[in-house]
């Protein structure tokens, strides 16, 4: 994949009136969103904001409500209650979709078209003029690494190529907001890196990216802020740095872990997990480690190691998602 060019698609003249009004609006604003399918509630009172220009990670296990949220943002699904707005416009308004590019999960397409024809179709529906389509389509094909494959039928594309052409149709009209639902799930490691580079390049030009993913490492590499959703509720959201470097933790290895030592450690913080010889302790201040190092030997325990732990997003995610299932 190649770097994003500086040539840009101006808003159509018909958009200009609403562009000014949208400049200050949040890219995504979701308030009290609820979606029920009969007895099954897919989303409970979901609240979410995404600032313009952010790369926002939306994380959650399968069936958590990620895709339902994206579909509501695109007006494909009607919420039972609550509001979803895109750049200040109601999500159900087709005008909002002028500003949005969307790559569905497991992108399926009209596979009897060629790559060029698919992009022609989407660019046309996104209101690009014939002249704009003429230069933009070859450009996006180059961007996603399919420069010379546009004339081939999609039936002959590999899984990875289909994902790339899916990405190409999502960015063909240079959207202000990109909704990506598991964009790298079908790609090999090289393809994943290329998609990450492309997302970074788009982001550097001011495109807001809403990334739906369960690939935690990817979110960690790309996103400014994340929200973790489980069973239709946001269980945690915030800046990635704050989430990962939130409350400090200590990993204590000692000769024996029993109820007494857990009670002692419980005075200094919250026991997150333990086994026969180690305890993971959530504390408010890592400096408490020196006190623990003195107290445990006095109580008759041998301490082999006591180290502060840097949490990964996976730790945070597992803690939240597993915690809510206990």
């Amino acid at each position: 994949m190649q770097a994003v060019s500086t040539r840009s698609l101006a808003d159509r003249p018909t958009d200009l009136g609403t562009v000014a009004a949208r400049e200050s609006a949040l890219a995504i604003e979701v308030t009290g969103l609820r979606k029920a399918y009969g007895q099954h509630v897919a989303l409970h009172d979901l609240n979410l904001t995404v600032e313009p220009g952010e790369v926002f990670g939306f994380l959650g296990p399968n069936g958590a409500g990620k895709t339902t949220t994206i579909k509501i943002l695109l007006g494909l699904v009607r919420p039972t209650s609550g509001q979803a707005r895109v750049f200040g416009l109601p999500a159900s308004d087709p005008g909002a979709r002028r500003l949005v590019g969307y790559l569905p999960e497991n992108f399926r397409l009209q596979d009897w078209l060629t790559g060029n024809e698919l992009l022609e179709l989407h660019a046309d529906l996104a209101n690009l003029t014939r002249e704009e389509r003429a230069w933009r389509i070859p450009e996006v094909l180059r961007l996603v690494g399919l420069g010379d494959r546009g004339h081939e039928r999609l039936q002959s594309y590999s899984k990875g190529m289909l994902q790339r052409i899916g990405l190409a149709q999502a960015i063909v009209h240079n959207p202000r907001l990109l909704l990506l639902d598991e964009p790298t799930s079908a790609l090999d490691p090289i393809g994943r890196r290329e998609v990450r580079d492309l997302i970074r390049a788009l982001s550097s030009r001011g495109t807001t990216v809403f990334l739906n993913s369960h690939l935690l490492s990817e979110v960690e590499m790309l996103c400014d802020r994340v929200a973790i959703i489980d069973r239709g509720r946001v269980v945690k959201s915030g800046r990635l740095d704050d989430l990962v470097r939130g409350a400090p933790e200590l990993m204590i290895t000692l000769d024996c872990v029993d109820a007494d030592v857990l009670a002692v450690l419980g005075r200094f913080g919250r026991v997150l997990s333990h086994d026969l010889t180690s305890v993971r302790l959530g504390v408010t201040d890592a400096s408490v480690a020196s006190v623990i190092a003195e107290v445990l030997p006095r109580s008759g325990y041998r301490v082999y190691s006591l180290v502060p732990v840097q949490r990964s997003l996976e730790d945070v995610f597992m803690g939240l998602v597993e915690g809510s299932r206990l």
Partner: protein, 285 residues
């Protein structure tokens, strides 16, 4: 409107790419050739065997019946095409997910639905017009049987196809493709049955039976429209003959359609299309 037409173009291109149109043309050509051969054979035999004036008139009526049968089969074939073509109008792609990216564009769902409908309506209208026209031409060339009023006959057959396409598109907005297919074909059959019931009621002078047939026929007017079309294919002498055998040929009508039926034939697809748009615009995708 331009987005609607863009979807129409896309749907027509799909029909071409999936070889539906080329295959349809080939099979239909085969049908017309077979019809011409059979017609020619029947004509030759008739001329050889029949000598008397009265018998010649009978041959002429037989040839007219053959023309009507040819058109009836065209009507059936076009009906199947209409249903097959549009049975998954939006349901197949909604289920597979390939509609999601399209509907994420600044386009109303009604534009997508109308675009699809226009393409199907166009294919079926052209198909039934060309096929019916060819049957009429073959009849005229081989036997000299001139269809008295080809335009209203073809027009009514087109209306029947528009109804079937719209019925099928309507079902696809809320039913899975296979279920919609089963329902639409059953209704198509029910429409045919309602025609038989009407003819029986008329022949037996049984008002209840006639009303039942007409009531069902109003909801599924495909057969009523075909029978109305058949009236315009029959010459005066053929009409006189079918009047004698009234009831024996439940696929034919021997009276022109009422203006009410023609109006209904035009209005009903529009109502169904409105209903389809209403349902499709509100459902979750």
């Amino acid at each position: 409107m331009s987005k609607t037409l863009r979807i129409t173009r896309l749907t027509l291109k799909e029909a071409m790419s999936r070889r539906l149109i080329p295959a349809g043309i080939m099979v239909s050509f085969l049908y017309i050739v077979l019809f011409a051969v059979a017609y020619n054979f029947a004509q030759d035999r008739g001329v050889q065997v029949i000598t008397g004036q009265r018998s010649r008139a009978l041959v002429s009526i037989a040839m007219a019946s053959l023309t009507l049968s040819g058109l009836y089969i065209v009507n059936l074939l076009a009906g199947f095409l209409a249903l097959f073509l549009s049975v998954g109008a939006v349901s197949t792609e909604t289920d597979s997910g390939s509609l999601h990216a399209l509907l994420a564009r600044p386009m109303r769902r009604s534009q997508l639905l109308l675009g699809r409908w226009l393409a199907y309506a166009l294919i079926c209208s052209v198909y039934v017009s060309v096929m019916a026209g060819l049957v009429m031409i073959v009849a005229a060339l081989i036997n000299g049987y001139i269809t008295p009023d080809p335009a209203p006959a073809i027009g009514l057959m087109v209306l029947a196809m528009l109804f079937l396409v719209t019925l099928s598109v309507f079902g696809s907005t809320f039913l899975p493709t296979a279920t919609n297919g089963a329902v639409a074909f059953t209704l198509f059959g029910l429409g045919w049955l309602s025609g038989v019931i009407q003819v029986l009621g008329d022949t037996l002078n049984n008002a209840s039976l006639l009303n039942l047939g007409v009531t069902v026929g109003m909801f599924i007017p495909s057969d009523m429209l075909w029978r109305s079309a058949s009236y315009y294919v029959q010459s005066a002498s053929v009409l006189a003959a079918t009047n004698v055998f009234k009831g024996a040929l439940p696929i034919l009508a021997n009276a022109p359609p009422t203006p009410g039926l023609v109006m209904w034939g035009m209005l009903y697809p529009l109502l169904l299309l409105g209903g389809a748009t209403f349902i499709f615009s509100r459902r979750d995708i």
